[in-house]
Symmetry: C2
Subunit: 382 residues, 2 copies
């Protein structure tokens, strides 16, 4: 989808992972819910009950997509809050069984941080495609003292799908709950059934930021860590209009998910093929078992930040796993764990509105941009 | 402000504390920011930088109202998150000095919970009007081992203003930072200068829920407790449109705050006078040093929940500090700490749009509603 700025009508936004533009139906839903559901849903009066009905409808809609019961769906203040609450709460409930939290090495840093805060963290390595070593993870889950296992459904940085089914089989047999971070996958690929707790991110599927989704199977024991008189998953409550907009957006993207999968998968294949012709590049992530809309690659002799800026000058917005944010200059821990190039990294996440023409234009501009950045760094001849 | 529901054109919503309808300018600002600022403000490309400029503008606007520098203003996922982060972070930074967190007994339960989680909690009593014993609080702050003091600017349940200036003088002299929860007061009364950390709640002043404001003086040492590569006050980031709408709403309500103070103060005086004529009632909170828009009273021989429901049937939405929420059946810890009636409680928070006619209609309906509930409970003759 092209987001026209005054004077730059041809902007192409290819950085839609984790923060995509709102789906048009989400905006409509938000407006409606703001009129009908601005009140506090915990109140007993008509306005409160109306807001509560909107939340319940939103929970039901999200549950239908996630394969969960309405009462298993909770809204949280955001995806990071979901991961923190899930790890802290599930670990606290299993304190007698142990305090080791088994994770892959490529989970989100928020989850890894929550795991370290809640117990001893057992980190399982990944292969060069970013896929966790299922045998090692299974073995780690079986070790007495495991309180919780956490494995993402797909890695949002490189797109690789993880063997959550295999790990869940073992975890269930061992009595260890499995938390699946599906923040990069829900809305893009089918949701797995193999989880005990599952976190999903509305801001990634075309819903709003400022609200998260956490599904907790009824059989899972949790020990909420907040005040007793608060919703344990959202102390202080959530914004009803945001929750409602998130649910409507999810229904909308789920309705044409299969068509979008085929369409975007082909565009990503095209990007991967074109990029691989550029000298000294490593195309990253599993070429097959992957998200349909994510493409990631790293260039030798290129600074990621400089390449993002150069592409931005030419009208293309992309992400980068190397010094991609203002808040950190550290290279991506995901790329480091995979043993691939951690610098000169570019990450593409196609929107549902991204066109073939936009992808072709990007592929046409990229080689020149890489060459210019290499020239600036004095490695043009390489 | 009357919120018309189909079939109920005469609804009067008097439960605007903590979750007020959006100010009309907040809706406009949200729409604009959603178009210009949907991207992740941590990104380096044009869309990200544009979103970051909106956040910075919002921080500057909020800082101007709170009497703080732009860089001292942080957006959080919500007011509860602000209180949790402020307590945890300020306490962690002062661990060497001590671990006692001095609070009043009538702070929000989220703050009391955070204080218990972060250290030993020293709770200071309040008088029958809900005002903290300033001498006792000053003495508690001076005791070696105090890591942090927390005192609300005003109590949102009963409206009583607290002596934050006196407590801050002592706290500064003792080197103990003071956290002021101004979640019930910002937008309604002048913001005090006497704080080291100050939390304010957009959902209370006509901005959105789903975003909070935390101001931290630059001199205050903090030890953020989240992942290093995240915004310590908002891991995962905040919604830019919500933050922008919150700031615009604050500017708007601040612009006519003084006029609204006089207007609503008179209406609350009227309510307090009318209510006090009903038999067996206790009008709660400081009649002078109080928020302009809050009125609270407790009825003997009345169940609060039943009275909320009875008033709702007659078109009036009010809050209650006794079993007022679906999540708890406990009486309000605020009313209990004040030593006043904890049951049969009704809480009014006037919106900026509440009219004198609506207040008069409420005052006309209330005595009958109380009598009917007492009849239902078999105490009609009392």
């Amino acid at each position: 989808m092209s987001h026209a700025t005054p004077g730059t009508p041809d902007r192409v936004h290819l950085d839609n992972g984790g923060r995509a533009p709102w789906h048009p139906l989400a905006r409509q839903a938000f407006e409606q819910a703001l009129a009908d559901g601005w009140a506090d849903p915990r109140r007993l009066h008509a306005e409160g009950r109306r807001a509560a009905r909107l939340v319940d409808g939103a929970r039901e809609a999200v549950g239908a997509v996630l394969g969960a019961r309405t009462q298993e769906i909770h809204f949280t203040p955001g995806h990071t809050a979901s991961l923190h609450a899930a790890v802290a709460s599930a670990a606290a409930a299993r304190r007698r069984a142990g305090s080791v939290i088994v994770t892959s090495a490529v989970e989100r840093s928020a989850l890894l941080h929550a795991a370290r805060a809640a117990g001893k963290q057992g980190s399982v390595p990944v292969d060069r495609l970013g896929r966790v070593d299922a045998d090692a993870m299974v073995a780690a889950v079986r070790v007495p003292g495991a309180a919780l296992a956490a494995l993402q459904h797909a890695n949002g940085e490189v797109g690789t799908l993880q063997p959550v089914g295999t790990v869940h089989d073992t975890a269930r047999a061992a009595g260890v709950p499995l938390l699946v971070d599906a923040g990069a996958s829900v809305g893009h690929v089918a949701v797995p059934e193999t989880w005990d707790l599952l976190a999903a991110d509305p801001a990634d599927w075309g819903g709003p930021a400022g609200v998260g989704v956490l599904a907790v199977r009824q059989r899972v024991r949790t020990a909420p860590v907040g005040p007793e008189d608060e919703d344990p998953w959202a102390p202080g409550g959530v914004s009803v209009p945001l929750a409602f907009a998130a649910a409507v957006a999810l229904q909308a993207v789920e309705a044409d998910r299969v068509a979008q999968d085929a369409r975007r998968r082909e565009l990503v294949d095209r990007i991967r093929a074109e990029v691989s012709r550029i000298p000294d590049v490593e195309v990253v992530g599993d070429p097959r078992g992957r998200l349909p809309h994510v493409a990631t690659f790293s260039f030798l002799y290129v600074d990621g930040e400089a390449l993002v800026t150069e592409l931005d000058r030419h009208g293309f917005a992309v992400g980068s796993g190397s010094a991609c944010t203002a808040s950190t200059l550290e290279p991506s821990h995901v790329l480091a764990a995979m043993g691939v190039l951690t610098h000169g990294n570019v990450r593409i996440a196609l929107d549902r509105g991204t066109t073939a023409d936009e992808v072709d234009r990007f592929c046409a501009v990229l080689p020149g941009a890489v060459a210019r950045v290499r020239e600036m760094l004095g490695v043009g001849g390489l």
